[in-house]
Each structure stands twice: as C-alpha cells, then as structure tokens.
Symmetry: D2
Subunit: 345 residues, 4 copies
C-alpha cells in the first residue's frame, strides 16, 4: 500500500479525492489537512465520508508517497514547494504550476510566481497527451476542468492539421466548479432557473488551453475565444468547440463526418477514459466517473468543425484525473480506483 | 374592447397568451380552443388560469378582431388560412409563415407548404425590425424563440457592416421551449442535472435567422453555425453569438467596446422591450416579462464580436412578442398589457 | 397617489415589494433604503427593476403615507418605532411585532423586545382573519411565510371545532425563504438535488401559528409539531397539516370529505386570495401571485384531517400580503396591484 | 463467480442493478432482458453502461444463480413464477410478493394475485429486519422505496413499545421514483420549481408499511397516515415520521432524546447500511450509495417522536437493497459490491 495525503480536504476537489482514494485498492490515505474544520473527524464535517476514520489536521507531518494539494492558487504553491524540494511526488489541483511562462502566470493571477524555476520541471497533467512525462514527474500540475474537456476535444483535429487557428469554445458548467466558498453568484436562489456567461473579458483557463494546443502541433498558434457559462446543475461541464476546417482537410459531406470520427477514434483508441461517440452526449453520462465523452462532427452547411465534450468537473476535471496521474507516477495501473460507472439518472 | 381568440390554448404558448391577455386593458378574450381538454373550463385544465371563466372549445366560431394560433406547424397553417382569407388579423406562433421561400420550408419541415402565396403577404413579426410592416399586416408570423434573441443580438452589428459573414450562435434554452408534449428528452429525471447539445445536424430555427439577417443589410449573406443546448431550467434562452469584426470597424481595445455599446444603445434607443447592458446578463432578469437584454462586447485578444442576449422563451420568445405585434396591428399602444417586471429571484 | 417607502429594499422581500408597488395604480414609491448598495440606482443593483428610477438611500427622510420594513428582526423594530410613534402607517415584514407576549419573543429571538407596549397595538396581518383590525391599524406585523399557509389551512377546521388539539405541520419551502444572505445551507451545490429538515428543535414560526390558532377559537390550545424542510426550488411553500377529527365532527366516508370542502369553501367564499380546491395543489400554481390554495381532505382510513396549502413565500408569504394589508390600511381596494396571475410553467 | 440475470433492465431500477452488479467482484451478469430496446447493446441504449458488453434480449434463457425482476407489478409475477418454481433464487423489485394477504393485494392493485400461494413463501426483503429469512429464501420481495425508509425509521421505537399506534409519515421523493415512463407529472417543466402531494387518498406503499410494523411488535396495530410529495430532484427520499410517545417511555427533556438515540444506535449497531445520526440528515449524503441515514429525536414541546430518514430511492430503496439481499441468498458477504461512498456534492 502506498501512502497518500491530501492538503485542504475541505473543498469540493479535496473531498472528492478522499472519496475516490478511500476505495483505491493500493492507496492508504494517511493524512488530510484543512484550512477549516481542523480537529474535526472527516465524517463530522462531511457525513458521506464517515466511513473514513481520520481527523482533519493543520499540516502534513508524516512521510507519504504522494501528496495532493487542493488549496487555491498561491497557497497551493507555498504548501507544495518544500515537499517537491524534498522529492515527494506532488499533484497540484490548483493552477500554480500549469503555465510554463511565469509572466503569463503573473498576468492572469496578479502575483509573481513564487518559484518560477519549478514551472519547467512540472508536468501538465492532461494524462492522455502527456502520459510519459507524467510517469516520471515529481510535480504534476493537474489541468483545469474546462481545459481538460476543451483540449481533449480539439487535440486530434489540431494534431492532424485539420483546422485553422480561429477557435471558439463555448463552455457550460455546473456550479460545483466554483467551489465551496460562498458568493452571491453561487447562492441557490440566484443560480437556480438561470443561465449566464461570466469572465467575459477573459477566464483564467484560457492560457492553459492555448499553451497546450500549441504543444499538440508545432507552429500551430490558436486564437481562442473562450466563454464559460454557469448553468443550474451541480456537476458537469460541456465544452462546445468550433473551428473552420481547412479546405480539403477531410472529405466533403457526410463522408467527412465519418472520416473525422474515425480519426478521433483512432487518436483515442487505447484510452480508458476517453470515449468518442457518434451522437450528441450528455454530461449526465459522466456523473461521478472519470470519463471524457467526445463527439466530433461537421456543420456541413458551413464546413465548420464542431466538437462537443462532456465530463464531470470534479472527477476527470479535477480529483479523478489527479488520481489517474498518481497511478502513473506510482507505477500503478492507470485505471485503478477509477472504474466506477456513471450514476444515471 | 377588442375581441381576441386563441387557437390551441392548451400548450405552453397558448396558456401564456391567455395569462397575458387576461390582464390586457383593451382586450377581451372571447374564445379559446384546444386539441385536448375540449369542454373543460380553462381553470380546470390550468388552475392558475381559474380567474378566466371560459370553456375550451373545439373551434373558433365567433367573430373576433384578432386570432392567435398556438398550434404546431402545418396544423397551424390549416387553421389560419381560412381566417386570413376572411381578413381576420392573425398571428401565428408556429413556424408556418416565417420562411419566405416555400422550398426552404419544405426542406426543413418535410412537407409542401399548404399555401405558398401567403408567404409573401405574411410579415415576420420581430417587432423591433419590422414594426411598420407589422402595423399593417393581416398575417404575422411570430418569430421562433431562438431567432428572436439571436437576430436582435446581431442586427446592429450587421446593419452597421461591422462583421464578416461567419457567425456562430451557441444557444442555451430552458425546457419549456420543447413544449408540453411528452418525450424522454423532457422527462425530468433525464434533463435535471444535465446539459446536452441537440439538433446538431441543423435546427429549424437556423433558416429564419439567416433570412432575417440578410434583410438587415443588403448583400450580407451570413454563414451561420447554430447549436442549441438544453439546460435544466424551465424558462429562458441565452444566445451567445460570435463573429469576426472587420478590420477597423471599431476602435481597437477598450475604446472599441465602448463604441460598440454606444452603437447598440443607439440602435435600440427607443425600444421599450430591448435593453442594452454593460455587463453579462442573466435569463432570470427576464423571467415572465417581455424584455430582451443584450450585452455586446469584444474579445480583445482575438478582435471577435461577442453578443449575449437573454429573454423568456415563452414571453418575448413567443406569447409576449405576439401580443406586442397584436398591439400594433390593432392600433393600440405597443407596450399595453406587457409592462410586468421580471419575477426575481 | 399615496406615497410609500421601503426600508431595506435589498433583500428578497424588499425587491418583491418594489416589483409589486411599481405596478400599483394608486401608489407612488418615493423612497427606498438599503443596508447595502446605498447610493446605487435600484436598477444597477437589481437589473430587473431598472424601470424604477430610484436611488437606494441610507434612511427614510421624506414624509410618506405608508412604510414597509424588510429589515431583519430587532433592526426592524428599531427602524419602525419612531415612525409608528409619529403615526406613520407601518408594515413590518420581520417578526418583531407578531408575538403578543414579550416573554415569548425573548424566548424565541434571544433578546428583550425593544418596545413591548407596541405589541398590544400591533395587528397580526393575516388579512383574511384580521381584516377589520388591519383596516384601522397603524402598525401591522406581517405574518411569516409558513404561518400564513398553515393558519389559513387550519383556521376553518379550528373555528368549527372539528379537530383535537394535536396538530402536525410538515412544511416544504423553496430556498428564497432563507433570504439573500449567504450561508452554506443556501449554497447552490449543497441545496440542489437535496432535501432536509431543519430547525428540528423548534422553528421561530411555531409560536405565531399557535398564538393565532388560539385566537380562532376560544379555549382551543393546540399542541403543534412544526417541521420545516428545505427543497431545491427558489419560491414556494407547501404546508401539509394533519390533525385528528373529533368523533362525529363530520360525516364518515366520502360524504365527510364533501362536507369538509363545503365548509372550507364557505369559510373563504368572499376571499379574493384564497382558493379552496378539490384536488392536490402545486406551489407552481401560485408562482408570483398572491394566492393561497388550500386543499382540505380526510384520510378515511384513520379519520384524520389532512390539509395541504400552497403559496409563494415572497408574495402571499411576504410582500404580497403586506401590500394587501396596505390597501386596507389606506382605504384602497384590497386586490389593487395584486391581480397578477401565476407564472406557469 | 455466480451468474445473474436482470429481467427488464431498461427501467431505472434495472439499469441501476446493472451498474452495481458490473462492479460486483463475485457476480457475472450473464443476461439482461428488456420490454423495449431488444437487440440493442446495453451501451447503445444507456451510454453510461457502455463498459458492459451485452445485448438486451427478449427473455431469460440461460441458467443463472439469481434473477432480478425489474418489471412492473403483475408482469413481474408472471415472469418470475416459472423461475421460482424451478428453484431459481429470485428477487422481485416490483410489489407483487410484498403483501402477505392476497385480498389486500387485490384491493390495492386492482387485480387478483396470480399465485397467492407464493405469498407465504416469499420473504419481505427489508434486510435489516428479516436477515435470516432472506438468507434461506428462494423468492425475495424487495421493499418499496418509501417503506424502506419509513419502516427502518420506526422499527426501533415500535419494537421497544415507545409509541402509540397513531403514526404520520410525510414523505418527500425525487422524481426517479416514478420511473422512466412518460407522464405529465414527470415532465420537466411541470415538476421543476414545484412541490405537490400525490396519492392523497392512499398510496400503494401504505399497506407494506403497516404489515411490516405489525410484525415488528406483536399486537401493535398502527393507524398510519402516509402522504408522499414529489419534489424537484432526481434521486432521494426523505421520510418524516411522527408518533406520540407513551407516557414515561423515555426520560423527559433532553435526556429522553439521548436515550432515544442510544436505543436506535443499539438497534442498528451492527448494520453496515444504517447510520443513526445526531443531527438532521440530507438525502444528498446517500446519493448513489446503499445507506439509510436515520435521525430520531423528540419534539420536547409536545412529547412527540420525530424520526427523519434519508436514502437513495434507486439504491437502498431498490437496486442496492436487492443486491444486499442477493449477497445473503448466495452466501456472499452482505456488503459486497455495495461499498461505494455517496457522491457529494
């Protein structure tokens, strides 16, 4: 059994890590910390976790094989830097080590990066694209929830050179993505029976998407408009991606759709957690599991690529993908602890 | 008092017409018909309408000043044709008289148009754009719910020649837009906590949008990708519209956003039911009222126009706009009966 | 036109007062105050109220015919006491003047009542039961949302002496009843897809219900268990009330149900805002309007009275009833400004 | 590996059985049948089950160790009778073998029981109360969703003789309990933002509750009022149970609450799937898992017992409890395949 700790178990990503790790056959969860609820039993603070007999502590003090941080940005870097320096395998759910360019980090997050030299070393943990780097990494930057769905949706088309650089990503998210902190924007009576766009002048997940799509194909420099929307549900993200197909990139007409789908299926053939489907998917088909479901198609009237992807923002978009990365980092089977089917309806 | 009748009061648009007309100071609702519930009191079938003491009848038999049809397509044309031919002012909530091209109607609706010569005569009832034609019309084709929001969102930019012809409209709708008819797609347990795209290969509201945007500016021939999504709420549509700004169309940077907003405000200056706003709107701010709220802005990173519009699909997207048109057709004040504020939260 | 002011317009009851008063034909809203958002236009803070061109002020400074306080308890009393002493007709949405017994107030609210002598003078504004007192009142204590539905549901049975004193009220409420203040209990991700009981050891609305049912029939001293539940919707309260019928109080079998219903219909015959119905009602049938719908029946297996009542907690349960009371206090028609039908679906 | 088949996998209980059995370490799911979708792959009809490579068939043809029927009543009996007669261990999710009295079955279900002699042999599969009978049963009648929560909530108080026979059960259910069949009552736009009571004149789950509570204590003959309510969520049932405590049954005041809780904890001490808690529980804490969470307390003002219980209607209220019973019938560990924690939030 490998030992794992969770820093800041008390947010939604943290409790989701605890939920999944508790059922993982090769992991023993040995410490959990919190910024609140220190001294409480995990099951007191979160009754659904009462099978896990642990106390929420103030700091990680024991030696572990892997540590997850579910702290917000900057606090997360501060907590992880000493652990990474000691060589503890670390997975950061926050955004602190995702952007390779410290200037860009400062632009988007408004503070200087606390340890820019770690940015080179850290691996962007979108497992399907960076599997071998994740395997040998000490520090994995777990991707944002929106970028996971958007990059997986677009990577095959980008890799194959099918599309021009103008890309629009219109995303719809459940409210749990905004976390457990209180705000009027996540107050039930304000969100229920409502939909709105937010972060219209620029959402922090945009630079991740751009950075990683650049890496998918040398010389590809996407101009992305990314607009997220908040919808009245708890879990789930659907990314609708639009781009213009290059002339002749695929066959015209319905043949092109088949060709596109075959190309996506081939790209993700051996992926345990990516499903390429032939009809419009639903977020509900991923509730509570680690799948990303991708539906690539063509708007035949305009020769535009449309790709829709669905995932559970707290699983493949956060805790599940973190554990997928952990499995690789510890030399375990990639799917271990993550085989749970979606809860439907 | 003018007399009005509603054909097929028993769907969601029909009962919304009844709800609003009941409080209209210059209208007496004299007959309502239904395809179901004939012989029942309106208040038996719909308890919230029990203040309206009327029986649901099989057919319109009395003489009225105006008739609304809330029947589905083709049935609606059949019911209205004889009334229009008698010169009764008619407002069709269905799609039967929206498309000017009978071939296009047949392509999208799968049947030959029952009376193509009426297509020329009918007026597309997007009030803000076609006010003077509506005033003198005998037959008004009330716009679809998605097109109302999308066309109003894009018309100022198109009229001013700001954008290229490639347009993406990503729409999010509450479930009442799908009507009162039963289907697995609108079964609570399937829709709740879920989001999905639908009609991916082409939604019937697309040709309306294209047709009307062409009319906004001579020679403008938009290539529109329109993708609607179903989200877990009852009422409300949010249309997110994306297009590329022509070079130099507006100032660059934040100045351009101001310029754009001024242009939109000017376009809709005297409109009682269109509000141009400077921050991201919510569908909840239009619940139960006849407003369309429009937020035009620019993605400064990509020089792309983004316009978000919100409305209540059963009011401005159906019954409310129909009554707005009726007011004009009958020479009444355009806002009469429609002054109700949104219900919030 | 009579002049009205709203103290603390920025909570959900306050904005609902503004929404309804704006459309009231005999009222001019002349001042609104807030504990937050002072200096902002009403429409900036609440876009759905942008038709109302007013600034949120810190205090009521002008002379008005009637003032509403939508402050929380104790703050509300403090704000209203000087106004009442000046003879300004005042309607308190808070609980400060509902309980006639200052000791009971202190027991439930944890502070000594700031002006116990006003408790005698104040009128409990459940309009249907206390209409004549409301008419001549200077200070009306607007009832709580749960008590409004529960007392109206039980009053006819109590008045007629049909039931024993053991009563159970199991209530289900939408989340807006908890107000606009933030708490984890009203955080979307916690409330959505969830139901729970709260205030199990005693909810503050209990003593109101007991006090008023005692007044309905001399000597009747109900022993009430009141358990409220929070359900995932924004507006609406359904009270399910259970009591044991006295032997022979009504006929046995289905005849007794008819008799009971006739008795309720007779009790509420002339009430514009109470509807007695013969089948199980829905809160949705009262969304946004001032009705309380009551369904009295008998569990024939156990000879138990069951009464279900539905209302909109922000309208008949708060702002609507307050305006109903205002109409009486100002000598206006009781229904003025309140004729709006429910929004459905 | 034991072999299992599911008759009628295409309803919500059926797909939940498939979901859980797929992850069961000692069960091989070898056949699934459907009344619809015959010939389709399970994953075509239900994409979240696409890891299960099976075709939906018309009938069970292979030999299995255990069969589940998720057919509606009467159809379920018809399908199971021949299998039971062959000695195949059978678990019926429907109501066909729950009531011991064939007359009562006919009264409530409107048809004569197809095989009344099996009623004696069948075991009511509320595992916690009938564990030893389940172990040796050939035919288990899986309890209804409401009765599971209600009986577990009341059994300790009844067994100990604490309460009088007058009992009120006010239940709140998510919509999935109504199944996958279409009806206006489960149409999204009708259920969302709504709450209502239903089956007011008597719900079919009442006689089960009465029958089983009688068996808990000889001579106890409860007079139960059971009123279910539909609330806008997909999964979850909360039963609020009220009864009058016998004088002196427990200590008065807060001591009595402690005593009561100790008694409940003792009653359920060794139960893996019942949690007795000391504060008000939420259905959300049981989402997707097999727990029933029970909160017993006393309304000290009226000396009334109040017990609130929560469970997931499709798991402990249907498929999960069926698998718990299967484990016992097949001599497996009772908790196998059911250890999953609740999905929260």
């Amino acid at each position: 059994m490998k030992k794992a700790a969770i820093i800041n178990v008390t947010g939604y990503s943290g409790i989701e890590l605890a939920r999944i790790l508790h059922r993982h056959p090769d992991i023993e969860l040995t410490q959990v910390t919190g910024r609140s609820a220190v001294g409480q039993k995990l099951g007191e603070a979160f009754p659904h976790l009462s099978d896990i007999d642990m106390e929420i502590e103030a700091e990680v003090t024991e030696s572990v094989d892997v540590v997850f941080s579910a702290l917000p940005q900057t606090a997360s870097a501060e907590a992880l830097i000493p652990l990474v320096e000691q060589g503890v395998k670390s997975i950061d759910i926050s955004a602190d080590f995702r952007l390779k360019d410290a200037t860009e980090y400062e632009d988007w997050y408004g503070v200087a990066h606390p340890k820019a030299q770690l940015l080179e070393e850290s691996v962007y943990g979108l497992t399907e694209l960076n599997r071998s780097d994740v395997r040998s990494a000490t520090l994995v930057a777990n991707p944002g929830c929106y970028p996971t769905g958007a990059i997986l949706a677009l990577a095959p088309a980008v890799r194959e050179g099918l599309i021009h650089e103008d890309i629009i990503i219109d995303a719809k998210s459940g409210v749990s993505g905004a976390g457990r902190g209180l705000s009027l924007n996540t107050h039930f009576s304000e969100v229920n029976e409502n939909v709105s766009a937010y972060s219209v002048s620029g959402h922090r997940h945009l630079p991740e998407i751009t950075q990683e799509l650049r890496r998918v194909r040398g010389g590809f420099d996407p101009k992305i408009t990314f607009l997220p929307h908040l919808i009245p549900m708890t879990r789930g993200i659907l990314d609708s991606c639009y781009a213009t197909l290059k002339d002749g990139a695929i066959a015209s007409g319905p043949e092109g759709i088949k060709e596109l789908r075959a190309l996506y299926e081939s790209f993700y053939r051996d992926e345990p957690f990516v499903q390429v489907v032939g009809s419009s998917p639903m977020t509900k088909h991923t509730l509570g599991n680690n799948n990303c479901v991708i539906y690539p198609t063509v708007d035949l009237r305009t020769n535009r690529l449309m790709v829709v992807s669905c995932l559970d923002n707290l699983v493949k978009g956060a805790a599940g993908q973190a554990i997928q990365n952990m499995n690789l980092m510890l030399g375990l089977e990639e799917t271990e602890g993550l085989e749970q089917l979606a809860l439907y309806p």
